[in-house]
Subunit: 119 residues, 10 copies
Amino acid sequence: MINIETFDNPHSYRDYEIVHENPEFTSLCPKTGLPDFGIITVKYVPDLLCIELKALKYYFLEFRNKGIFYEDLTNQILNDLVGVCQPRFMEISTEWTSRGGMNSKIVAKYEKGKDDQIR
Amino acid sequence: MINIETFDNPHSYRDYEIVHENPEFTSLCPKTGLPDFGIITVKYVPDLLCIELKALKYYFLEFRNKGIFYEDLTNQILNDLVGVCQPRFMEISTEWTSRGGMNSKIVAKYEKGKDDQIR
Amino acid sequence: MINIETFDNPHSYRDYEIVHENPEFTSLCPKTGLPDFGIITVKYVPDLLCIELKALKYYFLEFRNKGIFYEDLTNQILNDLVGVCQPRFMEISTEWTSRGGMNSKIVAKYEKGKDDQIR
Amino acid sequence: MINIETFDNPHSYRDYEIVHENPEFTSLCPKTGLPDFGIITVKYVPDLLCIELKALKYYFLEFRNKGIFYEDLTNQILNDLVGVCQPRFMEISTEWTSRGGMNSKIVAKYEKGKDDQIR
Amino acid sequence: MINIETFDNPHSYRDYEIVHENPEFTSLCPKTGLPDFGIITVKYVPDLLCIELKALKYYFLEFRNKGIFYEDLTNQILNDLVGVCQPRFMEISTEWTSRGGMNSKIVAKYEKGKDDQIR
Amino acid sequence: MINIETFDNPHSYRDYEIVHENPEFTSLCPKTGLPDFGIITVKYVPDLLCIELKALKYYFLEFRNKGIFYEDLTNQILNDLVGVCQPRFMEISTEWTSRGGMNSKIVAKYEKGKDDQIR
Amino acid sequence: MINIETFDNPHSYRDYEIVHENPEFTSLCPKTGLPDFGIITVKYVPDLLCIELKALKYYFLEFRNKGIFYEDLTNQILNDLVGVCQPRFMEISTEWTSRGGMNSKIVAKYEKGKDDQIR
Amino acid sequence: MINIETFDNPHSYRDYEIVHENPEFTSLCPKTGLPDFGIITVKYVPDLLCIELKALKYYFLEFRNKGIFYEDLTNQILNDLVGVCQPRFMEISTEWTSRGGMNSKIVAKYEKGKDDQIR
Amino acid sequence: MINIETFDNPHSYRDYEIVHENPEFTSLCPKTGLPDFGIITVKYVPDLLCIELKALKYYFLEFRNKGIFYEDLTNQILNDLVGVCQPRFMEISTEWTSRGGMNSKIVAKYEKGKDDQIR
Amino acid sequence: MINIETFDNPHSYRDYEIVHENPEFTSLCPKTGLPDFGIITVKYVPDLLCIELKALKYYFLEFRNKGIFYEDLTNQILNDLVGVCQPRFMEISTEWTSRGGMNSKIVAKYEKGKDDQIR
């Protein structure tokens, strides 16, 4: 399991939403080795732990020279971050710049209680 | 039935959304033979198969010199792509540039279980 | 009743949405005789008939030198087009440029079964 | 009660929405006497009466040199216009330009049957 | 408890929404001491008291040289303002400019009756 | 020669620029009889006479049901308005909505002294 | 002559540009008495005096209930402000919201030395 | 030499500018055979002949299934259209959608007298 | 004189332009003590020295709790930065958010050789 | 010297402009090792050689994991590309996303004959 720094949610008595958007994400296409550029958005309702912002940034940097498909990457980030902070809800969306004249977007969600057994 | 390359959905245990937008679509008007220009958007929740992006692009290129009405094209693409990847949900929307001072948009949806018998 | 060309809906086994937007609509104010400029949007779910696009354009041109209030025009277009193609659903919205510093918008809807008896 | 000209709703057999937006509204701050600038939007579903557009414009002009708070003005306009045309539904929203670096917006609604007794 | 001036809601017989947006908010990062810049939006349905706009502005100014995390600040403002005016509903959202290439947004809500006991 | 109301330039001792933009212009295509829609902009430096705004509006309305090509219309309006107010400088630009997928713009200028003999 | 507060230009050894934009200007149409709304922009290169911002705001407020034409107002403000601060250069531009479907803009300039004798 | 319909310039006594923009241009990449999409803009000052708009549209359509590089296409269109209407000035600019993550734009100009001998 | 870190211009054989924009600038109004918010842009052609970006950021932070007028601040920054790096050209522009309904912008320039003696 | 593929300019008898924009450029900060993201624009007037688009793309990819300052990178790209295709004119501009709350832009130009000796 990955290791991302977290901190105690100071207001865990309440459901509230945290959104971190990284408009400067880049990884590699596993087929061509050419770079992909995208915007990654993490939206979540924390339970007992919040994700530390700087740690999240370094986690995203590890994809810079890694070859991975859009669909796989989006779900893998969701699994990684759910594992790290056990949120009440989390949604990862990735929005990719044009490749071959086509733009893509992937959105995957996790809901505590409902989606725990399926992973 | 058409033949578009697919690959195994690596995260089929979860419902998640994939969107591919092609802003460079062109076909021909069946009445005048003049070109139509549009944006085609494929939004789907994959089941066991995902559509390969490059194959989808080549599928769209086959319409370049084909004469077909907006309403027909939108539904035909939906039928073709549902046939190819048997998704849990799919929506095709086509948005067309101005013809005779009028812009058109067509949206057709498919939901597994609910819409299977009607085709 | 008005006479607008229609064609058979090639995919009537499915509910899908057709939108035609006319951003170049003009009629006359019945009080002052001065021109009104607006955007007319027709959104509908066809049943057995679709409205022919060119015929729709010519239908709109008939308002060019006709004096009619916003509220009346919007509902009258809805009644005319419902009469012509008997859709499962239709919505007409008209959005008008500024008159005396005020912008107006009118939206009227029709739903088959629910609104048939009231007209 | 105020006096704003109305006309008979020509299509009262149907619920439809009318929106009038006045982006050139100005009144005075009751504390400082300095002008406030805002956008007033009237959205309603008429019953038997529609509000005459020119009369509405003149009604708004009466606030030009009147000192009144945002919250009070929004509700007072709602009460005035409901009184005049007895609509099935009405919503007044007022959106104000920056004062002391802060922008404000107030939205008040009325629904026939539900809100009649509370005024 | 903080002290922010309020005034009597002149239309407490009706649920209506008040939004105050402060696009010129700045506080300090508690780790680096560097300034953070954000947009704070207060949306609420008043009960018996409304928040005085100028007092709200001065309350926000107190954060200018205070070190506080995004998540904490958002919830603390919600707790402070709920304490001051006891609204029927309140939502605080804070939207922050890019830090390390990442933008953040936090949204926290309070509903009278439902959320009273949890604080 | 056409007849458009003018008024004495109250500040003729100075060169200054007046721009009137009409975003609601419509005329007819002389070939098809179908309406053209455009934005007409009149920019001029007045000499002894200014063009009355309401009169200009009525002058533009005369083109509503007249068939005329873009190039001809632009130059004819320039000739008409130069004749009416004898400005130090005038520029007419007309910008047309899409016809057959193509947008057009025409710009013609007049400079006193330099262009007087050529008309 | 009008009386607007000024202060000594602290950097008169250098030509530099100051722009004050007032997007909340309103005056009255001298013909109809109806309000006009516009954006007034003052751009100038100060000589020995700068215009005090708050004083400028109060000067603009005096037009709120005054009837005056666009062309006259623009030149009169230029004359007033040149008289007050004797700048090296000044340009007044006024940009007006739509009246009768037409938008207007007036721009007048003053250059020290060149334009002094003509007023 | 190509054959595009022209008509006599009705106002050849004056230099004025005509712009036709075609935002729906498509040709093929000569290397890959894949479609390129671009916006072609023709700006010219006519001499004795104007280019007929519909003829220009059909001329552009001939590139739909032709393989040609951006740089060559832009200059070839300039040469063709200069040959057809012998303008006082002409500029062709072509702006291309992203290929391999890069957008391109080519601009070529012709000036009568100055550039005649070089072709 | 202030102390901002510089580094040797690695390409001083050529005139080229460097622009640093700080959209998160804040200082205080010297009259009211209330915060001002603005965008500071430094554009310069370096001679032998370039300004270090992080040092520039810390220099701007020193204004956070300083009371200073727009006109003075702009010229003072120009003088400070010219003193630090002796550029061939420098322009400082400051663009301020609305105060009392008015937006301001100040632009001051320095050109080596031409403006050296005047400071 | 670098090696980028070129092809013969098919229209070298004429000065014309070619622009290639790469909105997906990334390199590393030489101090922190963190990624920088920018838009690189190459504008040039070719002489005998044009730069091959795909080769240019691969040249830009070489900076992906290289640490280099903005100012140096911009001038180095200019020197490299001038060396490769000996253009009549070339301009490189690089526009960088926010670092520490500040955005930067660098523009460097080369003109044949004028700038040859200085490098």
